[in-house]
């Protein structure tokens, strides 16, 4: 299903989606984030600081609460996410492809009820990148494209005064059907313009990973390369690169005690971060990834080797956030290129 939406009517479409809680990019204190749509939604964002990953995999999630009265058995109460339907507008194609990768981890191999119950109630309405939103975009290098619909329910393309809409999934179709008369049938000229906008978008210059297909084998051969320590030399061990990543999914589970008589609290899952020095700290005090080089290697090889071995695709979708926001200039494109060039 393909339709045309007048830009002025975007809000009317969102308003028509009464069964859905709608989110769109908004800027506050200079930070772009997906926020509930209040009033007019504008889709003129570069890319959001954080991907929409948190909708299905929030940074903090309560699994269950516990309470134990002395002498009695502990009482556990599972806390499942609510069943609200949520739709996110303005998702960039790289981030939608991130969602596909998150699904592999939390829905294919394991039955993560928390992730799945959120995910199953989500819809993503994407916005093609007519121009790269960042100087560090490299989606084309990792099998993506600025007009990719992978992981989206609807793909929107900005045609100036109107959007060209393509339904990708059944959910997408139903979102568009709900709009009723707001959406028009595209004329031949609209289709032609959309096609040429897409062709131009794909032709925009981007940064490039030189040999993405060869990366898994070459990285495997470079495990002991001295380049890891050299390239990680300036790393400060913060968590920006992975906390802003659309595909990083490591987590920690803790009990947060809220009272002692009776003992009660919550079991909580929070994001964790392989770049933190204590991430792999053993109870013995031994740390198998004791250096910045070992930790950079983990981040890069997870994306370009281990994930590929497990799922047949790179875990990186080329959004460029880890490059733009690194405080000291560590650049995953440069790292992958340099290590793979010098492999074996």
């Amino acid at each position: 299903m393909e339709k045309i939406l007048d830009k002025q009517r975007l809000d009317d479409w969102i308003a028509a989606l009464t069964d859905w809680e709608a989110f769109a990019p908004a800027v506050e204190d200079g930070v772009w984030a997906f926020r509930p749509v209040v009033g007019a939604a504008r889709l003129d964002h570069p890319n959001t600081k954080q991907p929409p990953k948190g909708f299905a995999f929030p940074q903090r999630e309560v699994f269950f609460s516990f309470e134990q009265i002395k002498g009695e058995a502990p009482r556990l109460t599972q806390k499942l996410p609510d069943s609200k339907h949520r739709v996110v507008f303005g998702v960039r194609p790289c981030d939608a492809r991130g969602t596909v990768r998150m699904d592999r981890v939390f829905a294919d191999h394991v039955d993560d009820v928390y992730y799945q119950s959120r995910r199953n109630n989500m819809a993503y309405v994407g916005l093609a990148c007519n121009k790269p939103p960042s100087a560090h975009c490299f989606c084309l290098s990792v099998g993506g494209s600025p007009v990719s619909s992978d992981g989206l329910d609807v793909l929107m393309t900005d045609l100036g005064d109107r959007y060209f809409l393509a339904a990708i999934t059944e959910t997408g179709k139903s979102l568009m059907t709900t709009a009723g008369d707001l959406l028009k049938m595209p004329a031949a000229a609209d289709r032609k313009q959309a096609a040429s906008v897409h062709a131009e978008a794909v032709a925009q210059p981007q940064r490039a990973i030189n040999n993405p297909d060869g990366a898994p084998a070459r990285l495997k051969a470079s495990f002991k390369s001295p380049l890891w320590e050299e390239l990680a030399q300036a790393c400060i061990g913060c968590g920006i690169c992975t906390f802003l990543c659309p595909t990083c999914h490591c987590f920690d589970i803790n009990d947060e005690v809220t009272g002692s008589a009776p003992l009660k609290g919550n079991r909580v899952r929070t994001w964790d971060n392989c770049q933190f020095p204590d991430f792999t700290m053993h109870t013995s005090g031994h740390n198998p990834r004791p250096t910045v080089g070992a930790r950079l290697r983990q981040r890069v090889c997870h994306k370009f080797q281990y994930f590929h071995e497990n799922f047949g695709m790179h875990q990186c979708t080329g959004c460029g956030r880890c490059i733009s926001d690194c405080p000291v200039g560590i650049d995953i494109v440069h790292v992958v290129n340099k290590v793979t060039e010098h492999a074996g």
């Binding site: 030399q233 968590g239 994001w271 013995s284 200039g329």
Partner: protein, 343 residues
């Protein structure tokens, strides 16, 4: 204006003559015009060093990393390590020496004066360039000289400089072994604590609402802590392991640890983290502003540290990073202290 060649020559000389074991400086990275930290050990690498308005980083952090690595390897080097230091960086080095983190003779300071300038802020520059891509940015007097594909653009430096640089009282690294550039300590572009004063003009309710909004946004990536040369503790209240675990650490010690701050990135925990950090930096923070620069979600952390700095200054006449042998704020007292508790 600083001639970058003089910094390169100094670094090459030091390494070639075997006077230092490494030089911590800046190089051009793979991200366009931005400089990035580098540690070089070969005199040949000296030509890769750069000096411009994107040398944001407080390199004193790498002296701390170096010291930690040496301690871990149980090595005592027989040569000092050299470091390129701006005024703020040099003050950080002084605080670290004051705290006996390392000795004066362990470090060779290649001071570089910011003269009338400082470092730029990327988003301020992007706004002024209106979409044009900058290839390099150097401060020349009161102007920032930017090279773009379309040619050279001269902008008033004060419009692109970081707040911390505008408010800087000491752009000249007083503590140094060698120094390049003029001492323009009295330049005073903007009065110190201007940003803080602007913020404090708000009502208490507005300030509380403001900070709530800021701390709600914190994602606890700890970049502010990681980038800070003063945050060198082996144990930090905010980590899941709040003490160094050694083979002799018992299971009971591990089980009974107190978790002061939960891992959840929620307002209460985030506030506790940032407040604790601000308190621990009182009298130590030298206002390099790196915490604020690196924050991915734009939390104005400098305001917190500035507040503590101004308190120390007004109540105790204390200037952090002023002298290696001088008293530290929280480890000294005066006989004429007006507080009763001290007597």
């Amino acid at each position: 204006m600083i001639d970058v060649q003089s910094i390169r020559d100094a670094a090459r000389d030091l390494l070639a003559k075997g006077e230092v074991r490494a030089v911590i400086g800046y190089q051009r990275g793979s991200r366009g015009m931005l400089a990035e930290p580098v540690t070089i050990t070969d005199p040949e690498q000296a030509d890769e060093l750069v000096w411009d308005a994107t040398c944001f980083h407080n390199l004193a952090l790498y002296l701390v990393e170096d010291r930690k690595a040496l301690a871990h390897a149980q090595r005592t080097p027989n040569l000092p390590i050299a470091i390129v230091a701006k005024g703020c960086d040099a003050r950080a080095i002084v605080v670290l020496m004051q705290e006996h983190y390392f000795k004066r003779e362990d470090v060779y300071i290649i001071g570089v004066s910011c003269e009338g300038g400082g470092v730029l802020v990327e988003y301020k520059l992007a706004r002024l360039l209106n979409g044009a891509q900058a290839l390099s940015a150097v401060i020349d007097g009161a102007e920032l000289v930017v090279t773009t594909l379309a040619g050279e653009v001269r902008l008033p430096a004060s419009e692109v400089m970081a707040d911390r640089c505008l408010e800087c009282r000491e752009p000249f690294p007083k503590e140094h072994n060698v120094v390049f550039g003029e001492d323009q300590t009295s330049r005073q572009l903007v009065a110190p604590f201007t940003a803080l004063a602007r913020f404090e003009a708000l009502s208490e309710a507005d300030r509380w609402a403001y900070w709530c909004r800021q701390f709600e946004r914190c994602i606890r990536c700890f970049a502010c802590r990681s980038v800070c040369p003063m945050c060198y503790c082996d144990e930090c209240v905010v980590d899941s392991i709040t003490f160094p675990v050694a083979p002799e650490t018992t299971a009971e010690e591990k089980a009974n640890r107190i978790r002061w701050i939960e891992r959840s990135a929620v307002r209460s925990e985030n506030i506790t983290y940032h407040m604790t950090r601000a308190m621990h930096l009182a009298g130590r923070c030298i206002d390099c502003g790196e915490c604020e620069r690196v924050c991915p979600v734009n939390i104005p952390l400098r305001l917190l540290n500035n507040k503590m700095e101004r308190e120390a200054r007004e109540h105790f006449g204390y200037e952090p990073g002023a002298s290696i042998g001088g008293p530290s704020l929280v480890a000294s007292f005066r006989d004429d202290d007006p507080g009763q508790f001290i007597r």
